[in-house]
Amino acid sequence: MHSSKIVLNHDEFVCLREYIHKECGIPIGDDSASLIESRLARLVMETDCADFREFYKKAKHDESKKLRNKIIDAMTTHETLWFRDSKPWDIIRDVIIPQFIADLKSGRKQRIHVWSAAASTGQEPYSFAMLLHEALQKDLNASASQFHILGTDISPSALYMAYSGRYNNTDMLQGMKPGYKERCFEQSGQVYQLIDTIRQMVEFKKFDLMRDFAPINTCDLIFCRNVSMYFSSKHKSKLYRKLYEKLGKDGYLIIGSSESLMGYSEDFEQLSYKQTPYFRPKKIERQHEN
């Protein structure tokens, strides 16, 4: 047997990458073979395919599109990265965190509540925690204990991974900013373990965004990113209304770069920092309500 036949080879990745791009509209980089493999391996097993070649054939000849949908799911469902979209994190670092610290220092606030509403495997709330940790090392006017960072998701599997704070090489590379990997993780073999200082800043709970928001505290900052696509128009409107109700009057909402509130909510006013939008509750309506 030739060694070229032994490996899960490049050809298969090229085929699958093309398929995923064409059928699912998800672009995949040349160097993301391990991403495809890690996202789809379970599906290959589940569909009883011996290998990726067979899986690819099955997908290509799948008239019902069932497999195609499963592939989309596997590629996107828990897809997340460190400092996703990059720009909003400048807002967090330059505008929002300094303001939180000032509010705590002046006594205007006792405690700050941050909520990552579809936290997946934890990269989003942990990205916030890493920036906060860094800010607090420079500015001693506040401490981590004055912040409550909550990460919720509907998937227990994602939450387990999030809580454990353990990531493989592939996941570590996605979006990671220079310096943080070295400062905030310990490497053991192929796995990176988030240090406890950061890990313990975040609490994880299962929460379905379709549900009533009563169990959630009033927040100073909400991340609700890349989850609205799972909601119908009607439910999107409901979702944003519920988020609005959970946001303190000077709280902030951050959504995904490919998402928009337009057509779903008029409760928020749009702010912008370095051309990146972020949102806060409209003031007038609040007064009106009170």
Binding site: M1, I6, V7, L8, S34, E37, S38, R39, A41, R42, V44, M45, E46, A50, D51, F52, H78, T121, S155, P156, S157, A158, L159, Y160, M161, Y163, S164, R166, N168, N169, S188, G189, Q190, V191, F204, K205, K206
Partner: protein
Amino acid sequence: MYRNSILQRLNKVGEAPTMLTISLEIDRLIRDPNTSAAQIGRVIRLDPALTGKVLKIANSAIYATRHRIVSLQQAIARLGFSEIRRITMSIAVINSFKSYFVDYEKFWLHSITCAYLCTALNKQTNRKANDDELYINGLLHDIGVLVLDQYFTTIYKKVFEIAVKRRFDLPLVENKILGINHAEVGAFLLNRWKLPDRVVNVVMNHHQPQKLDPEHETLGKMVYLANFICNNRGIDNGSGFFPEGFYDDIWDELGLSVEDVPQLIDSVLLETEKAKEILRLGGL
């Protein structure tokens, strides 16, 4: 494909190793409510090596007994049938298989931890599955890896190295190159050795819990999750596999909540320590 030649070869593998036979006999005896401690002692004593190791483990830090246990009779009385069954089973399996290139320590640390973790999961989920059955299933779930290592060393070494180096799912590489994977191989041999269906079925489906026979579902799901928890902690079978996640349905079906995660992680760390002792005192 190697599939057929592998199956043919496995058909020629002889009877189950002696120690395994003895521990299966003990397993059978203990299921019978009329069995006495003396009877169990007699069976264990058939194998002096087994007897010595049982005593060593009975006196280990795991049980922290105050007085030294010097006879099998004492060990059985002090630790109880269930514990004796687990100890003999662990010693039997870790002494029944050689490893050529698979890291023996890593492999058994994974399997024994997994076995203990299954029983911890049983307690935590309050599913009232049979702890001894869980333990055996946890212990044997990956046995196909060692079987392939032992009987098909050259080709399997290649398979294993590819999985390790490129961090691929081991069963996928096995399927691709051998046309069969370690779950099937393990199940095939255990079936030949007349292990009960519940073991064979769980071993067979430990990567595909949705395929479990309904009557073995609870056992199989716990093994599946325990396997995930071990792998997530880096207590893998030597293939360095780091899982992306698990089937959410299984988590819900076992009635676990996210609030259970910290305790599960504590459990795996604790059970690893026990497993290390078993391996140190009961191993080759």
